[in-house]
Every structure is written in C-alpha cells, then in structure tokens.
C-alpha cells in the first residue's frame, strides 16, 4: 500500500515506533493506515490479531491488501475467523500465522480454552477503538492477552474523536482498557495535515439553492411539532428528576440528542411512562422527516407521511399527529402532489384521477443538477481534457437518491416538459396504486382486528375529540387551542380515508386498462440503457458515475475513478476530506467540485455543526491529553492476583493463608451466547475460571445443582411477553434441584422494578410484578437473585459456589439435549427469533423446524404437505394461512 501524503507516512512511523491509540479526523485515510499495518504484519512469522472489525471492513482491507501486493501472497496471510470455522480449523489457522481478523466472541472463547497460542501472538490491532468500553468483549480480550503475553504490541485505531470527548475522563479510561499509555491525535487542523492538503486544492463551486415555499412551510411545521413534543416531554418528566435544559429544539435536531436523552432517562427507563417513551420515539420520527424532506421527492415524502398516519391509533398514537403544525405538514405535503379542482381532467394523462390537478413539485436541487450537467457538458466540449479522462462523479447520500437521479438525468429535456416530469408522473401512478392497496389493507387488517377502535378512527370526523375523550357537548365550550383540535382530527384521519376510497374505486375501474401499468413498467426497464445515450456531446469514453457516500471507502473510489468533475449532491464532511486527500495525492490532476446545499435548511445546519463538533472534540482531547494521569505498569493484572489472594485468605474452608494448588480457582460453566454480555468478563477479572460451551438449559452452571438463567430488565419483560421465560424455567426445574432466575439491573440505572407512582389501584396481569408472582407460584422451587449490578452478581455467585461442588462442563452440555434433535453448531439469532414468533411455531417444535429447513425463505417456499410433515396438521395450517394471507385482499 502506498501512502502518498507526508502526514500519513508520519502517522504510520509514529505508531510503528511506539504503541498508542491513534485518533484521526474522519476522511483522512484511516483505512489506508490500518492497511499499511496489515501489509507489515501479514507474514507467516507473525501472528497478529485484528479485532473489532466487521465483515465489510475486513473485505475492504483484504481488497486493498491483494491489490497492493505484487506477489499476491499477502492475502494468504490475512484471514477472517468467525464462528463458521470449527475448533480444529481455527487452531490450524493460528499456527499458520499472519494477520487474523477474529470475531470477538470467538476469540474470547479461544483464549479461555487455550486454542489461541497466546505466548506466540506478536500483537493485537484494535480497530474502532471508540467502541471499547469496560463492559465490551474487546476489553476482556485485551486483558486475557496481557495476562498471557506481556511482550506483544497493542495498537488501537479510531476516527471518532467525539466519542472520547464526552463523559468523564473517557479517553483516560479507554487507554487503560487498551493497556496503552499514549494517544496520537491527528485532527484536520494538525500542521502537517494542513501543509499536505492545502498545497493543492480543488476548484470548488458552492451552490446554495433555496427550498420551495412548501418545503419551507413543512420544515417550519416539523420544527414546531418537535417543539410541542419537547414541551410535553418537559411537562411529563417534571415528576422524574431530569435535567430539562438539554431538551431544546436545536439539540433535538441532531442524532446525538437521542444519546443525551437516553442517558438521562436510562436510569429510570423501565419505569418511564409509555407517553414519555412515545415522545422520545416521536422526536426521532420527526428528525427523520426533516431528513426525508430534502432527500425524498414530494410524492414519496407524502406517502411516507401517510404510512405514519396509518400506524396511528387514538389509544397509543403519537401526540404530535393531533396538533396544528402536524396538520400543516400533512396538508402541505399533499398540496405538493395535487390540488383538488372540481371538473378538472388532465389533458396529458387519461389515467389521472378526475377532479385532481397534478402539481408534482420537483426537488429544487434537481434543476440545479441539470444546470451543472449542462455546464459540464459545455466545458467538456470546449476544452476536452488532454488525457481523455473526463469522468463525472456524482455523490449522493444513499442508493435511493442515486437511482432517482440517474432516472432524472437520463430523461431528455424538451420544450414541453422538464426532465423531472415523466419521473414524477410515474411516481404519482405508483402512489395511486399504493393508496388503493392501503385502503384494502386498512379495511381488511386494521379495522377487522379491533372493530371498535378501527371504526372509531374511521368515523373520527363526526365528533372528533378522540384523544381527549370529551363528550361532544362539552367540547364546544373549550376555547382556543382546544377548538382547533376538531378540524385536525377530521383532516388527518378521515379525509385521507375518503380520498383513499375514491382512489380505490377509481383504480379498480381503470385497473384493466393496460396503459397504466405498462407506462410505469417500461420506464423502469429502459432506465439503465438510456442513461448515457442522452449526453450527446460527451464522448462515449467519458462516464458519469453515480455513487452513495460510504465513508472511508470513498477515497478508494476517487483513486479508482479519477474524476475530473465531482458533484456533491448532498453535503458530507467526510467526503470533502476525501476530495482533499485525493487532490493532494494527485497534484497534477484538474478537479472541479460542485457542492450543492439547500439554503437555510436543517441539512446545511447539520453539515456545519458536524464539522464544528469534530473540531471541538479534538480541542478537548488535546487538552485532556496534557493533563491526563496514567499509572505506571500493569496495574490491572496485579489487582486480579491480589484479589484472588485475599479471597483465599478469608475463605474459611481454605484455612487461611494457604494458597495455590490444593484449592483450585472456582469454575463456572458459561453458555457461549453469554459472551455477548459483560458478566463473563467481570467473573474472569475476579479470578474465576470460565468453561465456555454451548448449553441448552440455563446460561451459567455454578454447580451440579445450581443453574442460572440471567435476565436484564428488558430481557425479563420481553421474555415474559413471549412466554420464553416460562419454558426456560420449566427446563431448569426439570434438570436442576436449584434453578435460579437472575434479575440483573444495570449498574448505572436505578435498582428498582417500579416506581411508587406507577402502581395502579387494581391488580393487573400486565404488570411485571404480577407475572413474577405467577412464575413463582408455578415454580415454587425457583430461586431469584436480585442483583443491582454485574459486580454484585459476581459476589453473589462467589457466595453460592462456596459450599457447592464444581460443575462439570460435559454434563451441563448434555442436559436438556434431546438426542433426536441434537444441535451442536451455533445458530443465527435473528432468523431464529423470527421463526419463533411465527404462528404455529412453539418452543416444542422450533428446533425440529431448524433441523429440517434451511432458512425463513425456505420455510415460506415449502408446499403445504411438506409443512404438514414437519409440523403436523394444525400448526402447519396456521403457518400456511399466515404466509398466504394477502392483507390487501378480502379474505372474508
């Protein structure tokens, strides 16, 4: 791998010389730097572990490595290790040497069971170091590594300075977990970086496009809605002591707001009222809407709004939907598509709904892009590039935008219509089709399911006041804001329904007309072929390439394509850096960049603040670095030894001062799935020996008698709801004399199940306490551990093990496994969860299904007889009906 720029070389040299945590500004080529290390170490004489990467990152790194390596042998010594390799294969790979990217959960188990030859490991590379926390598996891996190997190196990488700058001494804590004493900070404003990048800058044209009037109105209304939600949130949270200063619209615009609010509410999340939870969710929805406003076309934006409206039910619905500004959002969004005009018949399109005049507002940036392309075309024509590489690269935020822009640009401009018109027409027809489907869907599924509630929502126009529940005669006396409520309800729920009805009838009438569907269809097929044809002036060798932002990978893209013109359709700070790096590494190349942004929009605000936040974070880190206190030496390992020594002394059975071989360390059998949680790590740090293996019954086996099922509060709630907990406890009761349910609270959250104010006046089976009572009545031998934190759990485990025999891993593994249904490899959890939530599937038969069917898809493709063979008549029928049922068709 070649690192063209001086600062990149400096970074690598610095990190090779001394172990450190590297924090680099985004877009400056962190992946190339990591790649440089892979190149150094991918030799058979090394054994380097790369942790904390995902499959995509590994694939990209491998690509780079293969490309850079002339001999092509580099790839041989960079392997990915996941749960798909078995123990024998893995242990062979470790012997093979080179760099190994390993899934953390697997590596922990290999380190614990001794499959990884720790003493032979040259070092560890930690990617995404900002995700390493005290509770993370990566911290556990590094501790195991340091205990078994004090010589090997540890080098950590991150491009998220913000993460290290929030919270108390986060940088310091992370360094401790990484066993590092040095941090290398490389912000964009670092002198070396600035010198490298600013010697050759690209020619940038910034275009600030105002939004349309309707868009401005919607943006303002969304912000109003957010304000309403925040006010409600402040009001409803006055009882629970939280700092409401953070609840401002400015802060709510950013994703980081979710973090702020969750940090405040987390300690009490399990007893926060439903309403507050709903409000938090609403703010997120509204923020997405702000984003979609500028990225979605007017038709899809309105369609999305209507889907949100469809999920609304008066009892559990979002608060903001019932407000004035929400009505403004819905009606303005609609007015961007068509207006109601009595007797209007569309001259261009016979398939258009009568009495509707299409407006079909196009996104303003479309025409900007069109103009840019015209300008580029002219430039190319008048001053062709000598080398003949005139590639135009258009960058947008996602694939959806790219697809749409491709379609847009491939449509020729005529005197009759803009480029966007046919596209908007298509979208409108799709919308009408969807709308009629939606109507059937509502009639069949939503209404049928809750007859009273559904009917209420549909006839909501009659008397409104759904939410408030006030009788009609009383409502009239309500003044001001209250009065405004009634027309809103009318608009939001019922007028959409009326319209849907009309559209459905209309669609039904014209459905047979082939023109409508063919019209939509043909264009889709043509789309790609047509794409380059219409740029008559451009030589065929020149290309227009469209791509969505992909973070670090974009610099590779630039290097491969070497574009002469770059259009940044959406602003993106990382990509700006990538262009800088690209330009600086190709000083001779002419590059012109068009940068388009909506004037005075949230989009613009977000872009600017992203840059500012990164800069602030680095400034803080530089200050932190200068005042940081780091202990000398390997204190954590020492601590563990001290503790086990102490424990041996005060364990009475051990007889005081005796240590060592005659009293081996306590053992615990741990289910391999549990390595996703932090408990195994803490247990180990307290001197317990862990036996990782796959066990069917329970999560932890402390002794031949004691088996523990661990549940966090959220797990407890969900596994009560799904009924899984009952089944799990049932199985434990059958096989162990002391089955234990461990209810583990989060360390940073409050230790209590429900607040006094949350207790209802009557006993309800939906309450967590009632379910717990039912469980203990059903299983009187079940013991419950209430643990306020992971650390408390460890102490309690130690207590419980004291007078018990050590557990046997093989025996624990054998328990609860039906010989016919033996499953010895691990399972993918999401497909399994989906399977278990299907009708007709129970805890009794789901394993049988998994043994006979490959995937969810395969299951849906089975014919009825095969299903019957697996499940039996009744359940098969239920599942079959579920798969079959079309929500849009009336099933009678």
């Amino acid at each position: 791998m070649s690192l063209p720029l001086a600062f990149q070389k400096a970074i690598v040299a610095e990190l090779v010389a001394e172990d450190a945590l590297l924090v680099l500004a985004r877009g400056l080529g962190l992946r190339n730097i990591l790649g440089a290390f892979l190149q150094i170490y991918s030799q058979p004489q090394n054994l380097v572990l790369l942790i904390n990467t995902n499959a995509d990152e590994e694939a990209a790194l491998r690509d780079d490595l293969l490309r850079s390596n002339d001999v092509g042998s580099g790839g041989l010594y960079f392997r990915s290790v996941t749960s798909e390799q078995n123990v024998a294969e893995r242990s062979e790979l470790y012997r093979h040497g080179g760099v190994m990217a390993i899934t953390s959960r697997i590596l922990v188990m290999d380190l614990l069971t001794g499959i990884t030859p720790i003493h032979l490991v040259t070092g560890v590379l930690v990617a995404n170091a900002h995700r390493v926390t005290e509770m993370s598996t990566e911290a556990f891996i590094l501790r195991l590594f340091r205990q078994g190997n004090s010589e090997g190196f540890i080098k950590a990488f991150s491009d998220q300075p913000e993460t290290f700058s929030v919270g108390f001494a986060t940088l310091e804590k992370t360094l401790k977990l990484l066993y590092l004493r040095k941090v290398n900070l490389w912000p964009r404003f670092h002198v070396t970086v600035t010198e490298s990048l600013e010697s050759h800058t690209a020619d940038v044209i910034e275009i600030r496009q105002p939004m349309t009037k309707a868009m401005k109105t919607i943006q303002a209304a969304i912000i109003d809605c957010m304000d309403v939600c925040l006010q409600e949130l402040r009001r409803s949270s006055s009882a629970i002591e939280i700092d409401v200063d953070d609840f401002t619209v400015e802060k709510a615009l950013f994703k980081s707001f979710d973090v702020i609010i969750r940090r405040q509410l987390d300690p009490i999340w399990h007893r926060v009222s439903l309403k507050t939870k709903q409000l938090v969710g609403d703010l997120k929805t509204l923020r997405t809407l702000l984003g979609y406003l500028v990225s979605y076309d007017s038709v899809n934006f309105s369609l999305y709004l209507e889907t949100i409206l469809a999920t609304y039910t008066p009892s559990t619905g979002s608060y903001w939907i019932m407000t004035d500004p929400a009505d403004k959002i819905f009606s303005t969004a609609k007015s961007r598509i068509f207006l109601h005009q009595e007797g209007y018949a569309d001259p261009d399109d016979p398939n258009m709904l009568p009495n509707k005049r299409p407006i079909l507002e196009e996104l303003p940036k479309w025409s900007v892009l069109s103009d840019i392309m015209d300008e580029i075309e002219l430039d190319m024509h008048h001053a062709p590039h000598p080398e003949g590489s005139d590639t135009v690269l258009i960058m947008a935020q996602d694939q959806r935008t790219c697809t749409q822009l491709k379609r847009y640009l491939s449509t020729p401009k005529t005197s009759m219509s803009t480029r966007g018109k046919p596209l908007m027409r298509d979208l409108l027809h799709k919308y009408l089709k969807w709308k009629s489907n939606m109507k059937h869907f509502k009639d069949n599924v939503v209404t049928k399911q809750k007859p009273t509630q559904g009917a209420l929502a549909l006839s909501g126009s009659n008397n409104s006041g759904l939410k408030r529940g006030a009788p009609p005669n009383k409502r009239r006396r309500v003044r001001g804001g209250g009065q405004a409520m009634s027309p809103i309800t009318k608009h939001s729920t019922s007028s959409f329904d009326h319209e849907a009805e009309a559209i459905a009838t209309f669609m039904h009438a014209t459905q047979e007309a082939p023109t409508s569907s063919a019209f939509v269809h043909d264009h889709e097929l043509e789309e790609i072929d047509d794409f380059t044809d219409h740029f008559g002036l451009i030589e065929p060798s020149n290309l227009v390439v469209m791509h969505s932002y992909a973070g670090e990978c974009d610099s590779k893209l630039l290097e491969n394509i070497k574009p002469r013109f770059i259009v940044m359709y959406d602003p993106n700070p990382t990509f700006v850096r990538c262009i800088e790096v690209y330009k600086a590494s190709n000083p001779g190349k002419q590059v012109r960049v068009y940068f388009t942004v909506y004037d005075n929009s949230v989009e613009e605000q977000l872009y600017l603040s992203a840059l500012r936040r990164e800069k602030d974070a680095f400034t803080k880190l530089i200050r932190d670095k200068s005042t940081m206190v780091l202990p000398i030496g390997d204190t954590q390992t020492k601590q563990v030894q001290d503790q086990s020594l102490l424990r041996n002394i005060h364990t009475r059975i051990a007889g005081g001062g005796k240590t060592g071989d005659d009293h081996p360390l306590p053992r615990i059998v741990v289910d391999s799935r549990e390595f996703r949680s932090s408990l195994p790590s803490i247990l180990h740090s307290q001197g317990m020996i862990l036996d990782p293996c796959t066990i069917t019954v329970g999560d932890y086996v402390l002794s031949p008698n004691i088996c523990v099922e661990r549940k966090s509060i959220s797990d407890l709630i969900s596994s009560f709801a799904s009924g899984r907990l009952y089944t799990q406890v049932e199985a434990m009761t059958v096989h162990y004399s002391q089955p234990v349910l461990l209810i583990e609270f989060d360390q940073d959250k409050s230790f209590s199940l429900q607040d006094k104010s949350e207790i209802r006046t009557d006993i309800s089976v939906t309450e967590l306490s009632s379910k717990l009572v039912l469980l203990t009545i059903a299983f009187p031998t079940l013991r419950i551990i209430w643990s306020s934190s992971v650390h408390a759990t460890v102490e309690i485990f130690e207590d419980l093990k004291r007078s018990e025999d050590e557990p046997d891993a093989e025996q624990a593994q054998a328990i609860g496994v039906d010989p016919d249904q033996e499953i010895d490899s691990a399972f993918n959890l999401t497909p399994q969860d989906i399977l278990r939530s299907l009708p007709g599937i129970t805890s009794k038969n789901y394993k049988h299904v998994m043994n006979n069917v490959e995937s969810i898809r395969e299951l849906t493709e089975l014919d009825f007889n095969s299903l019957k063979a697996i499940l039996g008549e009744g359940p098969a029928q239920m599942l079959w009906n579920f798969f079959q049922r079309d929500s849009r068709l009336d099933m009678g």
Binding site: T761, I763, V773, P831, S837, N851, F883
Partner: protein, 214 residues
C-alpha cells in the same frame, strides 16, 4: 394447631404484624389477623416472611429465628424484602444466600405499596393458571406480523405497514427484490440488507455440518 381462617379468600396476617405500614395498602383482597408462624399466609400452601432491610441491619439474628420457626412447612415460601436503604448491596447479598440455603424465594420491593401489591397478587392469583406468561398460540394477523418482522433490527411498526400494504402477503414480502424494497419510503440500504439477511441466513451457522448429518 393450624389456624383456620374465616374465609378461603382472605390473607391471614400474623397478629404481631399489626401496625405494619404496608397493611394500609392491601386493598384489593380482604385480610384478617391470626395466630400463624409466617407473617402472611397467602394461599393454601404459600406463605410470606416480611423483612425490611433497615430492620435487618439492626437485628441481623431476627430473620434466622423466623426461618428456624418456619421449619419445612409450606410449598412456596417467599421472603419479601423491603429495600428501604440506599446501601443495600451487602444485605441483599446476604439474604440471597440465606434464601438459597433455606428454600425461600426472594422478592424485592422498593416501597410499602409495592410490597403490599405482591402480597395481594399472591393471594389473588393463588389458583390462577400461568397462561399469561406461557407461550401463546393465537393472535390477530397484524400484531403477529408486526411481532414477527420487528424481530429484525431497525424494522419498526411503520415499516411493517409499508411492507404489508405494498406487497400483501408474508410470502410476497419474502419475494420482493432488493430494488423493490429499496424504493419504499423509510427503507435505506442497511434496512433492506438486514431484512434480506434475516430471511436468507441459514438458521444453523454451519449448514454443511447440519446437512451432512441429515
């Protein structure tokens, strides 16, 4: 001599518990005082010992005496602990061990109201079948569909409606192409990828092995 309550539906309270502040919150079931060994008898074979951590700290021997007096009687033996101090960790650790050794089920409550609610519920649900916490089979279509698809990370209720209203049946959702999914409002690349991954991923991580055995 076993105490016989006046009615089957009352909670029997040990006479010495008179004045316990939690009694004022027992409103949903009737109670009467009686001469019994545990603090509360909440069913034919179930009883409750009540302990406040604050009291436990002052009189650590108390609970052991009570447990000894209880002997091996009753099937469901609950020790209801009122967590009324901030530094509870040590006490709870101790009581967990005591409960394990003496076949007691530990229940923690954080207020008198909550403790009273547990006592009420034990009595009220004495003969209730545990159906509410068992796996259920029947459910209406939309909530079943929602339950099923929201198992996939980042799929929310709105997305379920979008999918269902666009494609119709579960099977048609399954047959939708990447492009068809990608243009749905609210669906980004990551969401589409997660959805398809969940449908296509084999249940077993090592399919070769599984196939081989079959």
């Amino acid at each position: 001599p076993a105490f016989v309550p006046k009615s089957k539906s009352t909670v029997v309270v040990k006479s010495s518990q008179r004045g316990n502040p939690l009694l004022q919150f027992i409103r949903n079931v009737p109670y009467e005082y009686g001469d019994i060994v545990p603090d509360f008898v909440v069913g034919l074979t179930s009883c409750v010992l009540f302990l406040s951590i604050r009291y436990h700290r002052l009189h650590p021997e108390y609970i052991f005496n009570r447990i000894a007096a209880l002997g091996k009687t009753f099937v469901l033996r609950v020790i209801l602990v009122l967590v009324d101090v901030d530094t509870h960790q040590q006490a709870i650790r101790e009581l967990t061990r005591v409960a394990m050794l003496n076949d007691l089920t530990l229940i923690c409550a954080w207020s008198n109201e909550e403790a009273a609610r547990y006592i009420e519920t034990f009595k009220a649900y004495e003969n209730k079948a545990p159906d509410a916490i068992k796996e259920r089979i029947e459910n209406d279509y939309l909530s079943k569909l929602t339950d099923c698809l929201t198992q996939i990370q980042s799929i929310n209720k709105t997305d379920v409606i979008t999918l269902s209203s666009t494609f119709g049946s579960f099977r048609s959702i399954m047959n939708a192409s990447v492009d068809e999914l990608g243009v749905l409002p609210g669906f980004g690349e990551r969401k589409v990828k997660r959805l398809l991954e969940a449908f296509d991923q084999p249940f077993a991580i090592d399919p070769k092995k599984r196939r081989h055995r079959r």
